[in-house]
């Protein structure tokens, strides 16, 4: 099997070093033959075997940066046409939505129908942002589709053998509200139900930061590097 290339998209939205280091660390530890590169060049997206879209800051800024960098067309070609495995992290996950309403209404990639709305301060003591370690409960539905079940290849590690939910590190003030339940793969509780993982086909998005979620997060990244949707 030829060595794979995992591309972390650099579009000027936040710190990518931790994401790259976490993938590198885990690839080394688990003997995964995968080159991790950080790039903003469309040709690198076209060549990549796996694509990761991180993101920090406001939804609209991130979308603008992505657009200005001329990366949307190559991304759509890679992910939607060539079905390259895709992982969105934090705002990179939120960008999958149809629209975001942070500081104005902005169109997202619309790969997973839904909108990104503010977390509701349900009680005065509920702190915003939702910052810290929270459990992620995998979605179980009657007649769940394969990608939704926690048998999802990447998410197998996200639920421990004894059925206890694992903790991941979150920092966000807005949340993904999916239009269709079957795109919700994991949930968290924070005064309300907060979408933690979305996905369909070769697309996966996590609201939390796996690169900052200790071993639980690293396992998820390892799963992503081995995933063959």
């Amino acid at each position: 099997m030829a060595k794979e290339t995992l591309l972390i998209i650099d579009y000027g939205s936040g710190n990518l070093r931790s994401v790259a280091k976490a993938f590198e660390y885990k690839a080394h530890e688990d003997h995964i033959d995968c080159d991790v590169i950080v790039s903003d060049r469309p040709e690198d997206i076209r060549k990549a075997d796996r694509v990761v879209l991180p993101g920090q800051g406001a939804f609209g800024d991130c979308k603008d940066n992505l657009e200005r960098s001329g990366l949307i067309a190559p991304l759509e070609e890679a992910v939607l046409k060539k079905s390259v495995p895709f992982l969105g992290i934090c705002v990179g996950m939120q960008l999958l939505a149809t629209r975001g309403v942070e500081h104005g209404v902005y169109a997202g990639l619309n790969w997973i129908p839904g909108q990104v709305i503010p977390i509701v301060q349900t009680t005065p003591s509920l702190k915003i942002p939702h910052m810290g370690w929270n459990e992620v409960v995998m979605a179980h539905y009657e007649g769940a589709s394969p990608e939704q079940d926690n048998a999802h290849f990447v998410l197998r590690s996200a639920e421990s053998s004894n059925g206890e939910a694992k903790h991941y590190y979150f920092v966000h003030s807005y949340m993904f509200q999916c239009e269709y339940d079957h795109h919700i793969l994991g949930m968290s509780e924070y005064g309300q139900s907060v979408t933690a993982i979305v996905g369909r086909d070769n697309i996966l998005g996590v609201q939390f930061h796996p690169e900052k979620s200790a071993s639980a997060g690293l396992e998820l990244l390892s799963g992503f590097m081995k995933w063959r949707p």
Binding site: S125, W133, E135, Y190, K212, S213
Partner: protein
């Protein structure tokens, strides 16, 4: 459910740990990477590095230190101490820090916090507040700078509210009258600040035993607790701290 964070704080001088965990089996107690690994393994929810380097030239070493730690330890890292420019913040974030804590620079120029939050995002801007009882004896607490020696006359609760409005994503509140005393957090101060702002508050200063950590949350309403000496000198482990929290009904990871 969101868990209460337990955050060990390490003092760093010229890139070396000068106040950190002191175990017999540690090869190099001054190595920040080794310290961070130990705390990560022990279950620390986050790490805070306080750069106490006095000289300007020594400042760049903290950047390299963050790079080294972030390449091997994958939990949130906060760095504080002498941060007063946007490029410095950017460098720290690019090196792998998740948050920076701003103290004196905020008091000197509150707009710096607004600019930092605009440029880098609120989620990575922590405003550190050192507070103690007002010097003139009136009710409430005031902000102190220069390690608690210089009063500013600024009311701590009003300041916290203002910093949150300016875009701080979190408050690191140190009870200066308790720092180093091992008598526990200043709970009325912690509660007053926590209840006044919508953003998370980390309680710091004065922890001497595990009950103090618990009280910071149950009575001080803090979202996270920070401690240094009780962990470094092996008095208590992170696991014991979590055990005490759990017993008191405080949710932990």
């Amino acid at each position: 459910m969101l868990k209460t964070r337990i955050i060990p704080c390490l003092d760093i001088d010229k890139g070396r740990v000068v106040k950190g965990v002191n175990f017999v089996d540690i090869v190099d107690a001054g190595d920040p990477v080794e310290q961070a690994k130990i705390y990560n393994k022990a279950g620390a929810d986050e790490l805070c590095f306080l750069d106490i380097t006095a000289t300007h030239e020594g400042r760049d070493t903290i950047i390299h230190m963050v790079e080294d730690v972030a390449a091997e330890v994958f939990i949130p890292l906060t760095v504080g101490g002498g941060i007063s420019t946007i490029p410095h913040i950017r460098n720290l974030l690019n090196a792998g820090a998740d948050k920076v804590s701003i103290n004196s620079a905020a008091v000197k120029n509150p707009d710096f916090v607004r600019k930092a939050a605009e440029k880098c995002g609120s989620q990575c801007i922590v405003v550190a507040i050192d507070a103690k009882a007002k010097e003139d004896g009136s009710e409430g607490w005031e902000i102190f700078t220069h390690g608690g020696r210089k009063g500013t006359g600024i009311d701590a609760v009003e300041w916290a509210v203002k910093m949150a409005e300016y875009g701080a994503g979190e408050i690191l509140l140190t009870s200066m009258d308790r720092d180093g005393t091992k008598q526990g957090f200043n709970l009325p101060l912690t509660r007053a600040v926590s209840d006044a702002v919508r953003i998370p508050v980390i309680a710091s200063g004065g922890v001497g035993n595990l009950q103090h950590l618990v009280e910071g949350v149950t009575e001080g309403h803090a979202s996270a607790v920070l401690a240094a000496s009780i962990f470094h000198f092996g008095e208590y482990t992170i696991a014991e701290a979590k055990g005490a929290m759990n017993k008191a009904g405080v949710p932990i990871r």
